[in-house]
Symmetry: C2
Subunit: 433 residues, 2 copies
């Protein structure tokens, strides 16, 4: 374990960085043992001498060593940014920043360079140069990911309007929207996730400090998910309604997964810099839990279209069985009702529109009337929101039985460029291309 201590001592000089991130041999990391790992070149999850270290060191009477949680790390550099294909972590922070009035494209580029360097260090278990916060000292990277995107307003502010992608057009208004503009949109967007709360907070705080005079926090939200190891079924989480959420998420093995989620390499227009990138739609969706919980489970299941206990569709089978939307129940009505959430949201009824959802639950206490200020930080990834989120949400807005129990309180769309190579920074192809 001595090698781990080295990477966490805060003394790693810049010239050591490449050596440390050139991983595998260090044995400091452990492959994250989850199904979505190892996607076609998408994100390199570094593999260390895992099995031995983990299996052997679980000893009665001693605390678990830095193992499944702490030592898991995700590489910063790659084709896509980290934090899209990895499973959602136990702790998440979303933040939007607005550029300061005097900040220009050059200042923004310098900020993105600082952010990228710090993110690469933190994600690989090193203390960034000059970082004396100490909040994450003696913890491992804990699957930390940092993901950075650009809002529509960024392009005007920096004189880069000619490079603003058409796909970044504003979302239409929806009936269920009660959006707070102060908690919506923004010039820059950051998504932070980690399986340790202090590691996540440290990353948020450091990025805020690195923004310094260049950008100021516009809004910030905190979320959470099931902790690794809390359940035997980590692939599908539950939301605060108690429903499994994400069962029908597209999988990397699906046909056309790549082109539905990521911008292809062959763009030549204004958005050529977005190759390997993705567009994210972020919605703060409050759940009206008092009303929801007063329904019977039977009623809840008809609204969702799945069994609450195990996520199986009401047409039968198990969680992974494809729903049969034509199946009639013994009572002669549709097993999955016409306004059931999974029917209205299904790609089959949306011309194949698909997005990769990667949500966090949120709970910000209670409102004055005693109802929970809680729900979902909905985060959906797609190659083009006009073909992903927007048509699906239009249908949900009209026909989804679940929408009566949801309130969209904040919204943002951001262009999240592809990942960068060592020595580059996120957004370099936009700012220097």
């Amino acid at each position: 374990m001595a090698d781990r201590t080295d990477t966490l001592s805060g003394d790693a000089a810049p010239e050591d960085a490449q050596k440390i991130s050139d991983n595998g041999a260090n044995g400091v990391s452990r492959r994250r043992l989850l199904g979505t790992a190892g996607a076609a070149g998408a994100v390199a999850l570094v593999a260390g001498g895992a099995a031995g270290a983990t299996g052997a060191s679980v000893v009665r009477g001693k605390p678990d060593p830095l193992s499944s949680v702490g030592s898991a790390n995700v590489a910063f550099h790659g084709t896509h940014q980290a934090g899209i294909l990895q499973p959602s972590q136990a702790h998440g922070h979303l933040a939007a920043f607005d550029l300061a009035p005097k900040a220009d494209a050059k200042a923004a580029a310098a900020l993105l360079r600082r952010w990228s360097a710090a993110a690469a260090d933190m994600m690989e278990g090193r203390t960034p140069q000059g970082d004396e916060l100490g909040i994450a000292l003696d913890a491992g990277p804990s699957s930390l990911t940092v993901t950075i995107g650009f809002g529509r307003t960024f392009f005007d502010r920096t004189g880069l309007a000619a490079k603003r992608p058409e796909a970044l057009e504003p979302l239409p208004a929806f009936t269920a929207d009660a959006l707070d503009p102060k908690r919506s949109e923004g010039d820059l967007w950051v998504q932070i996730g980690a399986d340790d709360g202090l590691v996540a907070f440290h990353a948020l705080r450091l990025l805020q400090r690195l923004a310094a005079d260049t950008a100021r926090l516009r809004w910030q939200m905190n979320g959470f998910n099931r902790a690794p190891g809390a359940t035997e079924n980590p692939m599908t989480g539950r939301n605060l309604m108690g429903q499994m959420d994400g069962t029908n998420n597209p999988k990397e093995t699906d046909a056309n997964f790549g082109e539905r989620i990521f911008v292809p390499d062959n763009r030549t227009g204004a958005d050529a810099w977005m190759a390997g990138g993705s567009y994210v739609v972020v919605r703060r969706i409050r759940m009206l839990l008092d009303s929801w919980e007063n329904l019977s489970v039977d009623r809840q299941e008809k609204i969702i279209g799945r069994r609450k206990s195990d996520g199986s569709p009401l047409s039968g089978g198990t969680e992974t069985t494809r729903p049969d939307f034509n199946r009639m129940g013994s009572d002669g009505v549709l097993a999955i009702p016409g306004d059931a959430h999974i029917r209205v949201a299904s790609p089959a009824t949306n011309r194949g529109a698909a997005m990769l959802r990667r949500a966090f639950s949120y709970h910000d206490g209670f409102r004055d009337d005693g109802s929970p200020d809680a729900g979902l930080l909905f985060i959906a990834w797609q190659a083009d929101p006009r073909k992903g989120f927007t048509p699906v949400q239009r249908k949900l807005d009209r026909g989804d039985g679940l929408s009566r129990f949801l309130k969209h309180e904040a919204s943002g769309v951001f262009a999240v460029p592809g990942g960068c190579a060592p020595g580059e920074y996120v957004g370099q192809r936009l700012l220097e291309g």
Copy 2:
């Protein structure tokens, strides 16, 4: 793993409860491998067939089984309530409730009976009868603890003023106080902790629903700590200032530990019902992180009296070395400055006053000025706050260099009765004694 499924199916009939909680043979639980476990009869942490199950089932390419996080459970019944001697979990909720105007002692007793039954079920991995929330379905208990206490106002409201302990007198005012009465005190207090965020939220939400018309939420706060396995040094956490916090916490092996923290069995007066109980002081302490982080580490260390990196006192040694408050540095001044936090707070300078601190960090986003709304949910346990918290805080208030960086925003003192036996409920000796 079949036996685990049984306990989580939600079908456990009440008559099965004793069988399931009569643990050990079921193999559903795993001893929490932490130093404070196994205290003299204090809290029974149930031991299952741990080493084998954990060691053998960590297999490359498969997710970790429900192991160190999910299956760890703490017994509800015992001499003391759970949630005092156990290490702080990764997620915490604090909540205070006020009795409804028409609720009397009988209604309060019924509520405490409902809460106790639900807490016992959830802590032992069963779905409470009638609980259809589903938020924690298919997760293990994840070291859930539920702790219940009474505020000063409870006794007037229920006609039990004659049983109000003298130790429950209001705290004096302190200079660093900027208390919000709406987020302070309350008739009833609940502390929830779990290593999984959904398990913790489920418990909070269920207790709120069980309060129904009897009691209404007065205030509620969310906190977090390092996740199990995120660090090799789980015994001492770090706070959001990046400092190790809790190094000098009293240990169960200390002389007089029991009598300093818990009310003895031999009381005969108004507080005889508090035998085995403890008094908790809860303070929401905001950290002025912008100011703190602008200090050099050297300056921060002089304010605390310990090295930031490893928690060792400035008088030398390692984290566990006893500070030498008389030691002079080579520059001829005290190695641990006169106003250093650990000097002013030390039991040695407070006539041995000791409290068992068990804090959560909190982060509720950012204030309008961009500064973090973040700090510490300070939770301190003692046999008598007049001999524990109050004299120490009086000294800190006057002489602690750290107090310039802290703001106490909310406060509460609660009488937390001893634990109960199966068939009893928390507070029964107060309400029926």
